[in-house]
Symmetry: C2
Subunit: 426 residues, 2 copies
């Protein structure tokens, strides 16, 4: 049996071939995958029943059991996603720049796949299908490690996708499944072969990956998102937005954790918020000034950095928008932050100065999601500032190379003045 | 006196303000910098004379002394570079995507600065001016550490640029000079404040930076570039290209280190190459088969990974283009690799399959350079595949954020089917 190191080197070799596959070949493979998943749906559901049974035995919490479930509706969702993906324009071979440097010397900047991407994801088996499909469409090889709770479902989904891909002339290295948790540590050492790691999961897990590998990591550890209710906020809008951002799916990274309220809006807004939160079971932690208006407990500075992923919301009154911005840039995680205001100038300034992947006016932070941005799907959300930021879809899975077409040109002619550059964008 | 850590935190705060500066403000500062450098040219040259005197005393090698020199011609060059830079379109505030997600819910993907960039560069004082100017134009704060040989020249250049920038209403954190080598280790720990490191210099130094910081690093350690002379090469073109790529500036990262020759071209090409190399003082290291055609010494596998930065060239005969591609992907550094061929189909395949930042047909690898690509200048050349690849100019110094403009939209309406997305690119 091959070691993880050997496997990744083999995948690396195939990744070069992936870069030359036509869009139609990749789309054909996507269609073959849809067909095989539909044909073998009963076997997939049976494998999933096994995982669910084991999960129940192990006493997994309900939210995880829910994510683990892969039924007809989940199958329809991932197939619809892949249908959409194969109609999307090819992310590869796009010319970003076409420039004549001199007569007969043409520079082109053209998109190409990143290469080999390692994705470590949580208990949702539908994530396996989505990630495999996004990587295939973008010409990347994917090495996947899913949650062990979903082992049976992941195994059959992988087998079906792999077979369909290979039958459709995709190189065998396009998809690899890793099943042992100990293999992750091996994977982290394969910086020769793996171009990018995308870990999804708990803060501690993502930090672990970042601290233990030389491979570039795309993703986010924290999701400490803010909503700032401005002096000029429409409070009728503000309240449902805050409640949605907190409770629509409390365990998501894009839920709001801290609410900042302009002092002039505090008296009108906070008592209403407090009442609504009591009704919805949201516990409030307030700064000293805000405690005059809300039912809750006093917060500490530590709370400003907390990603609760729970029905808890920190509340702070600020003197002006600048204080709100400074707070967000200092304590936030540069994920997604919103301003509620009717003043477009204030919103514009907030959006310029807040250093986050998503900056919103008058809507819920929960919109930070690849599907909701119209990307079809996402491999994850990036809070890093390099390469890709925010929800990462196809465009975040490609890079580019510079192609230079000449007719014998040499640099010494230009360095020594016999020729000179004549730049012209084509 | 502040610690490096305190300094970088202060710079970070100013970096948020930099993101809101208008293009005209940044251009005005560039013009002020040009003016002050011209006005104080005598003082700059005097400081440089000091550095040159010390360099001579210390017995610095001639190539370094040459790079250290900052005279009227270097001043004219950097001022011309900045003149060009201030006429270039603003890299910030560019809308990359504008999409209606639903009625009254508009998503915009807009370019913005990366933030705080640490650049550690070699003995050329003109690099300080170029890097400061590129970072200013792209709205980034730069923390610079130059070579100690250039300490006097760097100090006066920094003082002049800093004063001109601040007088032109640029936040004081836009430019910081670090002068002690020991401060570099402090800098590497400031991952809270610094968004990106760009080390320029020796392979060992760049590796040291990469291994000792959590901050993302852009740059290249190795420059092992190849030229492949195809069966269908025009040998009249091939010879001057190889000689230019090896000797035009032998210490550059984009010089050729390994020459791959198709077996059908070996007999016609290699004896001519060997003769020319003997004339130019280039030592050849050959594979067993090639030794029949060249004057040189046998090479080992180690030589295939060597960046000589010297008048040495490794020569290997390959059976076909696929072998050449596999060799380049295996032993190369993914910097810049060229094919010499009259067959455009072969070139196209070579350019698809070679996994490098630059893939060239029928021209010298020495063209891999920001100025020669028409970028005005470069902060460095990246062999990483994420964010920016190849020569990095303004466009590699920006990232983007997603701005979402709503009117009170909440996610639960979409999740629970009361509303649905209507994606439309604007």
């Amino acid at each position: 049996m091959s070691t993880i190191h050997e496997i990744t080197l083999k995948v690396k070799e195939d990744s070069f071939l992936m870069a030359a596959l036509e869009n139609e070949t990749r789309n054909k493979a996507l269609r073959a995958i849809i067909e095989t998943l539909r044909t073998h749906s009963e076997e997939i559901f049976a494998a999933n029943a096994e995982d669910l049974k084991n999960g129940e035995k192990a006493g997994l919490p309900q939210p995880i059991m829910k994510r683990l479930k892969f039924d007809q509706s989940k199958l329809d969702d991932v197939c619809a996603g892949m249908e959409g993906l194969q109609t999307l324009p090819d992310p590869l071979f796009r010319t970003l720049l076409s420039r004549q440097l001199d007569e007969g010397l043409i520079l082109k900047q053209v998109t190409c796949p990143i290469g080999v991407i390692g994705v470590i994801f949580e208990s949702r088996p539908d994530a396996l299908v989505q990630i495999a499909a996004l990587c295939l469409k973008s010409g990347n090889c994917a090495i996947l490690k899913g949650g062990s709770e979903a082992a049976h479902t992941n195994r059959i989904l992988f087998d079906l996708i792999y077979q369909a891909g290979v039958s459709a002339q995709i190189p065998a290295g396009f998809l690899t499944l890793i099943e042992n948790r100990t293999d992750i540590d091996e994977l982290l050492k394969c910086d020769e072969a793996i171009d990018l790691l995308i870990p999804r999961g708990s803060n501690a897990f993502v930090q672990y990956i970042m601290n233990n590998s030389k491979i570039p990591v795309m993703g986010h550890a924290d999701g400490v998102c803010h909503i700032y209710v401005d002096r000029d906020a429409d409070l009728e809008k503000a309240l449902p937005i805050v409640l949605d951002a907190k409770t629509q799916y409390v365990a998501a990274c894009n839920t709001v954790e801290t609410l900042l309220v302009h002092r002039d809006a505090a008296e009108a807004f906070l008592p209403r918020l407090s009442q609504a939160c009591q009704k919805d079971g949201i516990k409030l932690l307030g700064c000293p000034r805000s405690m005059a208006y809300i039912q809750g407990e006093p917060c500490t500075e530590t709370d400003f950095r907390m990603e609760y992923l729970d029905y808890i919301l920190t509340v702070k009154i600020v003197d002006d928008m600048e204080e709100a911005i400074a707070h967000i840039n200092r304590y936030g995680s540069h994920h997604t932050d919103a301003i509620i205001t009717q003043c477009d100038e204030a919103a514009q300034r907030f959006m310029l100065l807040v250093d986050s992947a998503g900056v919103y006016q008058n809507c819920s932070t929960r919109f930070a999601d690849g599907f909701r941005y119209g990307f079809g799907a996402e491999v994850g959300i990036s809070t890093g500032k390099l390469h890709a930021r925010g929800p990462v879809g196809l465009s975040g899975l490609v890079t580019y190379k510079y192609k230079l077409f000449g007719h014998g040109q040499i640099v010494s002619d230009y360095a020594e003045g016999r020729k000179s550059f004549h730049f012209k964008d084509l």
